[in-house]
């Protein structure tokens, strides 16, 4: 038996909005420690890992580990029927073939039950290693979202380069090019508005903007985003969900082939 009651039901809606365009079907993992998901997009370019800890729920019960294979589009459809201030409870039997979402309005005068069919989904889990990244940038999530959106109107890819002074986003396209630099800024009183760079060595990686824009859909979940990069490794774009957990996106970089071009002639 799995049962989890989330007072801030809007949060679950936001989580779904953030991942449903990236991954169509995924297995949710219910265990005593929490409710989590790891899934790769079908092109094997990005990966999403989400974790909502059990202690973040108002009530959490998980007798046995449980995998729930769900179509995220359909799940989002159901969650859309919940109001943002509704309390959402998820329930599933150990051997059942459905999961139930119960929405209660804060005043308790409206209670809805939605039952979603589970699916068999073949998926594999990657062990994600703890890595000491060459550079970690924490910045306001809205700022990050805006940069990605603006640059996508110019080019297809963005080169993100981190130095001790700041982080530079560059792109170019048919119509021209664009560079946006965000400086380290720790002076602000509110930590959420700071841009903090933790640098071991400068790093520059290039990514497809389409995926970053997709990640930015998680912006409503957190005021700041943490980007961790190392040479030739996927970037991690992490949104921490207060008191609950996090949602992290991994994106494989573009392979730089300039050297090939020099090398050939």
């Amino acid at each position: 038996m799995f049962e989890a009651r989330l007072t801030q039901g809007g949060l679950l809606k936001k989580v779904l909005e953030a991942i449903k365009d990236l991954v169509s079907d995924a297995n949710f993992d219910c265990s005593p420690t929490g409710f989590s998901l790891q899934a790769m997009d079908s092109s094997h370019v990005s990966l999403v890992a989400m974790q909502l800890r059990s202690d973040g729920f108002e009530h959490y019960r998980c007798d046995r580990n449980l995998n729930m294979g769900l179509n995220l589009g359909n799940m989002a459809k159901m969650l859309k029927c919940a109001n943002n201030d509704d309390i959402i409870t998820m329930k599933a039997e150990d051997a059942g073939d459905t999961v139930t979402f119960m929405f209660e309005s804060p005043s308790q005068d409206r209670i809805s039950d939605f039952e979603l069919k589970l699916m068999d989904i073949d998926s594999e889990q990657l062990g994600i290693p703890d890595t000491d990244y060459a550079a970690t940038v924490k910045m306001p999530s809205a700022e990050f979202a805006r940069i990605c959106k603006d640059l996508a109107s110019i080019g297809e890819t963005v080169a993100i380069s981190v130095t001790k002074d700041g982080v530079k986003f560059s792109t170019s396209g048919d119509i021209g090019s664009a560079n946006i630099t965000v400086r380290q800024n720790t002076a602000v009183d509110k930590p959420d508005e700071q841009t903090v760079i933790d640098l071991n060595e400068p790093v520059m990686l290039t990514f497809a903007l389409r995926y970053l824009n997709s990640f930015a859909k998680a912006t409503p979940l957190s005021p700041c985003v943490i980007m961790s990069m190392s040479k030739e490794l996927p970037v991690v774009v992490e949104y921490r969900i207060a008191d609950m957990g996090h949602i992290s996106f991994y994106l494989a970089p573009k392979i730089d082939d300039e050297e090939m071009e020099d090398g050939n002639e």
Partner: protein, 857 residues
Amino acid sequence: MAPKRSSTALNSASGGGKQQNIAKFFGGKTNADSVNTPKIGAQASTSGSTGVQKKTAVASLQTSRPVAEVASATFSGREAVHAQPQLKRLRKAGTVTQTAATDAEDLADRSPSPSPRQENTTPAKSKSPAKRKSRTPAAGSPEETKATSAHPPSPAGRRPQMATSPAATDLTGSSADDEGQADRDDEAASNKRRKKAVLKAPASTAKVAGVGKSALAAAELHAKYEAGQAATWEAGAPVPFAFLAQTFTAIDATTKRTEITNILTDALRTIIATTPDDLLPTAYLLNNRVAPAHAGVELGIGDAILIKAISSVTGRNEKSIKEEAAKSGDLSSIANAAKGKQGLIGKVTANTIRSVFKTFRDIAKIEGNKSQDHKKALISKLLTASGKGSNEAGYIIRLLQGKLRIGLQEQGLLVGLAQAAFLERESAGRDTSSLAPRLEAAAQTVKQVFSECPSLDELVPALLGGPIKDLPKSVRFKPGVPIKAMLAKPTNGVTEVLDKFQDTQFTVEYKYDGERAQVHVDERGHVTIYSRNSEDMTGKYPDLAQRMPDLLAPDVKSLVVDCEAVAWDPKEGKIRPFQVLSTRKRKDVTVGSIQVQVVLFAFDCLFLNGESLLSKPLTERREALVGSMTAKPGQMEFATFKTSHDVEELGNFLNESVAAGMEGLIVKSLDSTYEPSKRSVNWLKLKKDYLEGVGDTFDVVVIGAWHGRGKRTGVYGSYLLAIYDDENEQFQTISKIGTGFSEELLKTLHGQLNEHVIDAPRTYYRWGESLVPEVWFDAQVVWEVKAADLSISPLHKAAAGLVDPTKGISIRFPRLVKTREDKSPDQATSPEQVAEMYNKQVLLSKTKGKAADDDDD
């Protein structure tokens, strides 16, 4: 329910170092360590279902090899990308011989290495001294090795595949290139001879005796080749698609026929020796088909959907892909480059030949609601699973477009299949001197049976199932599998016909102005009607199918007849021109809704009561035809014919035929056999306009245009026409056409052709530098044009090299006859036909008036 999860955790705890982390990320569970010792980690045990665990284990066993290698490919994608062009250059330079040894050593170092990851990650920096050094053309081997190791099935596979031919030619002593050139010349010459010979000899005589030098050399190589060695997969395991992609690349890299055949033969042998089950899908992919022609199964994939798929797996925008494609016209290289540049996370199960083929068949089957989304998803999956370095993604795209363009023809494929099957299954212990003629004989047999039963579904299992000499027994012509129609050669006039058939008994038949129809009636009485290209046209002619059973003589159980379907006016009781027939709906016609009635003119009987008549003389086939059916006016009639040797009488017959609305006459040798798909000298066509201007009309493809001036402002004033060179897969210009259009027609054509405008000429167009059109078209529209005569022209490229070493042949004063909607661009007139017509014209003008001359020399 039991939600499945196959889950493998990496033993990340022990790892630590950065390199290894990279491996975990990029290779997921697939680095060499984890493949060898798959760990069902904590996550998996939580899933609780044993079935799932078993599945994981099986999966990792089966796929370990390609998987591991793809993982490495993903990571070392950049080397693979490097290596490809490098390889080509190496081959050109002919320095590959050395490679084998170094290659092998290097591999020995590599393959058992417990942490190949390290090697695959470090060179990603690719500025290591070794890498630098290897870029100098002379030091080729390290580079080649990189390609091998970077790519899935390669290690051993690549070397023999890629290097066999040039390396082996080296062994013979002279430099690879010179020898290759000699091969080519030899081949070209023998091709020409063969083409000429066709004019004289009945084509069915197998030319086994004339085995050339190159064939002997090839035989020697074949005898030494050990097929199993090239395989990097275990016997019986699915063959990685990368192996096929490498074969494509190797074939694409050469223009020498013999070399293409050798590469193909080696590759097919490797498959027969290891996983014969994959021979059929391989043959289909090499033939760029998903089913036999008559099955009517087409992929039906447009560029738009391919662009969407490429976009979805590479993160590129559809719009920018579209723009780039409009410029270069080559989606395959865009796909490959985009795929090569995007890193991956985790495991990708490599494409295998059978998985690709199965997906293609699935794609061909998808229809209805959301079919485009579904197709896109399947294509995306294929692209995702494409490894780098062998242009896998590029070839997937080309195959889906139906434009493989590697210079491999169906005949070449048949030779490859024949040789491979023979060498693997029958040649053990034979000395090489007798091998060459035997290979040639095997190839002839396979070509012959395939012309009578053009279905790989029949041929390939038979090849694997028994000796080649038994093929004619098992792979036979039968109702339900159409053969390509026998075609007639154009002539210049009655005199020429008489010259050609001097000592032959011949008959003259009306050439009806309709559509070729091959009508099959099988043992169950089921009727199918096929076009000249073996497409199923039963849906277009349900009325013909319906009336067939009533026309059959009582003792007929099965039958195939060759006919012309002609539009019929039941009120007037006479036939109508082709233009009327072409207004008939093409598909899903119901008998009740038919506007254009059709009469069938039968002229040949190919199969009767379980027996093929293809090898019987025409006299006998005609008897069979008349005996098997009963003519009914307006339904089915026998083609009108006359047997005479008198010039006058033939001339009159021609006039009669024209008066009766015919296109002209077909002259047939009475003792000739039916030669499927051949434009044979045993059938000659005599068109009504033969006596004026050039003998035949030309089917040309419109590839460009100039804007009109003056009265023609706003439409195209003239068009650039091209013929299609099947051998080199090129469109070669033959003429500019600007006269003979009505204003109305100009408008219509302008509208039609505007749909095909492209930004730049295709790479496979050949045109004269001083005759560049203002607008280029995609090669789509085929016109039939008439012309006054042919001349050598520096402005055009048609048949360049065949008559004049550099100049092409142009046609003068072309006039548009009609748009040939029934012909595809690759069925346009060929350079050989143009050259032949030119030669004939030259000869005619020289020997004007002389009755007996032999124009074959």
